[in-house]
Subunit: 636 residues, 2 copies
Amino acid sequence: VSERLIPVVFQPSGKTVSVPSGTNLFSLMTELGLTHSATCGGKGKCGKCKVKVETGVEAINASTESELKHLLPQEIGQGYRLACAISVPPVPSFTVRTSSIRQGKLKLQTEGALVSISPDPAVRKYVIRLIDSDLPAEEMLLALLKRKYALSCQMDYEVLTMLPAAIERGKGFVTCVVYQGNTVIAVEPGDTGRDCLGFAADIGTTKVAVYLMDLNSGKELSFSAAPNPQAIYGDDVMSRIAFSMAREGNTLILQKILLKEVAHLVRDCCTKARLKPRSIYEGCFVGNPCMMHLLLGFSPRSLAFFPYKSVSHHSVTLKARELPVRLHVHPAGRIFTLPLIAGFVGADTVAALIAVRQNKPHGVQMLLDIGTNTEVVLSDEKGFMACSCASGPAFEGMHITHGRKADSASIEKVSVDPETLEVTFQTIDGAKPAGICGSGIASAIAELLRVGVIGTNGKIRGELSRKTHRVRKVRENFFEFVLAWKHETDIGYDITVSQKDVLEVQKAKAAIYTGCTLLMRQKGITADQVQSMTIAGAFGQHVDKASVRAIGMFPDVPLDRIKEAGNAAGTGAKMALISRQKREEAAHVARSTKYYELALDEDFTREYATSMLFPRQPSPMINSVEEKVESKNAHR
Amino acid sequence: VSERLIPVVFQPSGKTVSVPSGTNLFSLMTELGLTHSATCGGKGKCGKCKVKVETGVEAINASTESELKHLLPQEIGQGYRLACAISVPPVPSFTVRTSSIRQGKLKLQTEGALVSISPDPAVRKYVIRLIDSDLPAEEMLLALLKRKYALSCQMDYEVLTMLPAAIERGKGFVTCVVYQGNTVIAVEPGDTGRDCLGFAADIGTTKVAVYLMDLNSGKELSFSAAPNPQAIYGDDVMSRIAFSMAREGNTLILQKILLKEVAHLVRDCCTKARLKPRSIYEGCFVGNPCMMHLLLGFSPRSLAFFPYKSVSHHSVTLKARELPVRLHVHPAGRIFTLPLIAGFVGADTVAALIAVRQNKPHGVQMLLDIGTNTEVVLSDEKGFMACSCASGPAFEGMHITHGRKADSASIEKVSVDPETLEVTFQTIDGAKPAGICGSGIASAIAELLRVGVIGTNGKIRGELSRKTHRVRKVRENFFEFVLAWKHETDIGYDITVSQKDVLEVQKAKAAIYTGCTLLMRQKGITADQVQSMTIAGAFGQHVDKASVRAIGMFPDVPLDRIKEAGNAAGTGAKMALISRQKREEAAHVARSTKYYELALDEDFTREYATSMLFPRQPSPMINSVEEKVESKNAHR
C-alpha cells in the first residue's frame, strides 16, 4: 500500500496531487506553496496549520498531544486537525479543507508617512565627454572629473577592469557613478545619467518591504513586500537566534534565505517600475538588531544573553558583490545598514526617529514603535533615552486564538452595542472574516471594556452568558466572547475572544505602559509634558488611537498630541537613502541615545503588575448592563 | 580504423598511451603534461615542438609548410617533425622521441641580490587579552587595541562575521591582524602572533616566481617558480595581447590561468616551509605592464597601440577574495601591485630600481633590466629617466636556431681556441647539451668575435670552412658554426650558431645599445660619467659581463663599475612586501621617472643601424687567423 499514490484534494480550490501514503501533510502543503498565515515550521508549536479533514478521516492517525493542546474539543469532533500532525492515510481519496490557502494577499504595513526632503544622495552620476590623451585611462577620467565637476576621486579596482570596454563602447561619452563624491564605483558607456536608482529595505521579523527610489529626484517609484522567509525557522527573534546557534552554518542559512527574498522584492520593484536592477547603486537597510545581524551574517548569539550586546552597533557599508547572494543590483553598488542603539533597540528605531524628527524638535517628544518588541524613545533638549518592552506579538495577531496577520479576511474594527451586546465588525477588505488582526483585537477589547463585558481586571464577566449567547463558558471559570458566528465567517466556525486572548493583550499593553512610565520617571517627565507622541509600526497605521489609549497602552497623553506615523522605520530608511544629511543624523541619534534597561529598574515588577489592570472607563457602562441583566433575571 | 586505438610510445621515457588515430600529437603531449620548452600554442609558428618519429613514419601525413620552414632538410630526412603538424597515424604502434620531455627542471632565475632591510611590514599581529564588557564585540576589541597598542583602527566588514566565534574559541585571547596600522582585517582565536606571512611574486612573460616571506622577521622562507602558463596562448607579450583582444572573456582566461599558477606556487612555498597558506596576509606583485594588466584582469589593449597607455599606472590594492581565483591565502589578505612607469616600463623596473638603490645614490646610476623588452633607467640628482628597448627574446634563448631557456641541458658558456677554432662548452649542470641559452649565445658570439670567426659586421667568415669543419655552408652565403657535434649532444644532431642567430643577437644588442646611448644623450651624460651600472634580469645573473660588453651591448662603462643584480625585480618585490618605506619609495620612483619614447627620437634609426655592428676587438685576432688560414692555403 505504501507504494500506491494517494490523491490528495485540497478544498475549496480543488487542487489535487498524488503522493505516497505516509507523506506529512504540512510538508506537502509547504512544497505546494499552500503556506499558512503563521507557522512554527511544522513543529506542532503554533497550532496555526489547522485543516478540516473531509474524506479519509477513518484511516488517519490519532490526535497528537499538540493537537489536543491547540484544538478545541468541538473542533476535534468536527474533523479539524493540524496539518503538521497528520500523514496522508492509505485511502482511495483524501480530502482536506483549509482556509489559509484561500487567504488574500497579506496586508503588509509598508506605507510610512510621506515626507519631502531635498535629495542629497551618496551616489550621483556624472557624464564625461572623452578627449584624446596620452594619460592612462584612469588618470584621464579622474582629471576630467576634476576639471568639469571639481571632484577629487579615486577609482574602485573593479572599475579598472571595465574601463577600456566602457570607453570603447561609449563613442565619446561615459558616465561615472560616483559614491560619496570621492570614489568612482562604476563607469558606463554613453550618457546613463537618468538611471540612478536606490532601494530602501525594512527588514521586519515577520515581513520584508522594499522601496525602489529614484536617487536623482528622491521619489519613490515602486514597492514590494513579502513575509520574512526566515519564519520557517521560527516565528520570533528568539527562535531564530536559537536556530542560528544550533549549528555552524545556520546563520548563513538565515542570511541567504533573507537576501534571496530581498533580491526577489528588488526585482519585483524594478519590474513594476520598468527599470533595470543594474541601475541600482545603493541600498539602505533597517530592522531590529537581530534582523540586521542576520542580514549581515553576524552571529546574533550575544543579543540573546545579558548584557544583550550586538556584534557591532555601527552602520556597516559593503559592496553588493560582497554579499553571499546576488541582489541583481549593480555589483559595485553599496549596501548599508543604519546603526543600532542597543541589543534590543535597532536600526528600525533609529530610522523611525529620523523619520518623525524632521525639524528642530521642541519640547518633549515620545516615539512608540509597536511590534513584538516595542521600542519607546523619549527625547528632550538633553538628549534621547530609549527602552525596549517585551510586548509580545499579540498586537500583531499572534498568540491570539483566532488571531492572524492583517489581511483581507481579518477583522480590524469592532463595535459592540452596549444595550444588546450585539457586534458589528469590519474586515480589512470587507470580506468574510477568517480571524482577527492586531488592531482588531485592540478594538474588540476596548469595546468589550467600554460596554462592560470585561472588567478592569480583565475578567470576562461570565454571568453575562445569561443575557447573551455571545458570552459562553469554555470550561470552569473560562469564558469567551463570540465576535462572529460561524455562518458569518469564511472558516466555518465561530470567531471568538477568549479569556486567554484578553490576558495576552493585558500583558502586551502592560509591557508598553511600564516602559513609557519608567522612561518618563527616569527623565522626570509627566504625561502632560509630552508635546508630541508618535505611534509607529504596523499597528500604528490601522489602529484607532482612542481605543488603544482606552485599554491603557500608554500614559494619558492628550489625544490631539498623538499621531500615527505608520511604518516610520521604512520612511526613515528611504530618507537615509536619499539624503546624506539624514544618514549623519542617524549616526548622531544612535550615538546620543542612552539605552535604559527596564529589567534593571527596581520598580519594574511592581509597575508591570499594576499596569495589567485596564483603566477605569469614563462612563461605567458595566454597571448599567449588569443591573439590567440582573433586573431582567429578577423579573423571571 | 578511426575507431581503433593506436598505442603511442614516447621515447626515451617509454610512456605509452592509446588514442584514436587522427589525434593531433601536440594536443596529446600537452594533455599528458609533456610540455615543450617553448611554444606558440601549437600554431606551427615557433618550430620548437620538434620530435623524431621512430616507428609509423610510413603512414604519417606529409610535411607541412611550417615544418619546411622550421626544420632543416637533413632533419626532415632523419624523421624529425613538428608535433603540432602531425596526427597519430593508423599504424599498429607509433613511436616518437622527444628531448623536451626529458629536459631538466627549468633553471629559472629567481635569486636576487640579498639585501638586509629592517622589516616594517604593512600587516602586523596584535594579541589581545579579552575582558568582560557590556560593549559590542567590535567596540571592545577596538578599545583594547587602542589602550594596549595605541592603534586607532576600524574593522573590515568580514571580520565582524567571524568575530563572535573567534572570541568564543579564543578562551580569553584573540589575535588581531592589522593592516597599515588602521584596519583590522582578521581576528583569530588564541595567540597566533608567530604566523605572519606574506609572499612576493615576480610575474615574467616566460616565468613566474613566488617567494614566501616571514613578515615578522623579513626573512625569505622558501621559493617556488614555474613557467608562465599563459605561454600556451603565445610566447610573447604581443601575442597574448592579441589573444586577449580576440574575444571577450579572453582577458579573464589569461588572468585565471596565471592566478592558478600563482596559487600553486604559493602552496608549494608553504609546503616547503611547512606553514599554512592561510597565515599569508599580503602579497606583492611585480611584472611588466602587460603582466600586471593580465594579473589584475585589465584589458592590455591600450598597451599595444601608440601612445602605449596603461589602464592605470598606480599601485592597485585589493583583497585576495576579490580575485577570480582563490590563492589559498587568507581571504581578507591584501594583494597589491607596484606602480608602473609607462606602457612599456613596468612594476618590475620599479622593483628593480628600489632593489638596487639602497642608500642615497650619488652620481649617475644606470640600470639595465634585460629581457624581451629591456628597460634602461638613468638617474642623477635631477631625477629618473627611463626607456624601453625592443631587444627581442634572443638573450632569453628564443628566436635562436638551437636556443632554449636556461636549463640543465643548455650551453651557457663557450670558449673557442683561437688557433684550432675548437670549442669547449659548459652546460648549466654539466649535462649533455640539448641547446643553448641566452647567456650561452652571448658567450659564443663574444668568443667567435674574439677569435675572428665573426667580423664586426656580423658575417660568419665562410672561407674558414676551409680551415675547420665547424664552419659550414648551409646554403649560398649562409654559414653556421658548430658548437657541439651530434655525438656530444643529448638530441642526436649538431648544435650550431647560424648566420641568422648572429643577426638576432645583433638586433638585440643594437636595441639595447641604442636605448642606452639616446638616454645618455638626452641627459647629456657620457659613459665615463656613469658611476654605477647594474645589469638585472635572468640574463644578468649568468652572463660574463666582459663578453656582453665585448659584443657591444652597452656603452663602454669601465668593467669595475658594472655589477650584476640578478633578479632585481624579485628582490624589489620582497623589499616592498616587508617594508612600507620601500613601498613609498616605489611610488616616489614611479611618479618621478620621466619616460623617454625612443621611437620619437630623430636619431633613433641612424643610431640603431650603426649599433648593429660589433665593436672592433682589442686584439684583432681576426686578421691573424685569416692570415694564418690564407698562409696555410698559400702553402698548399
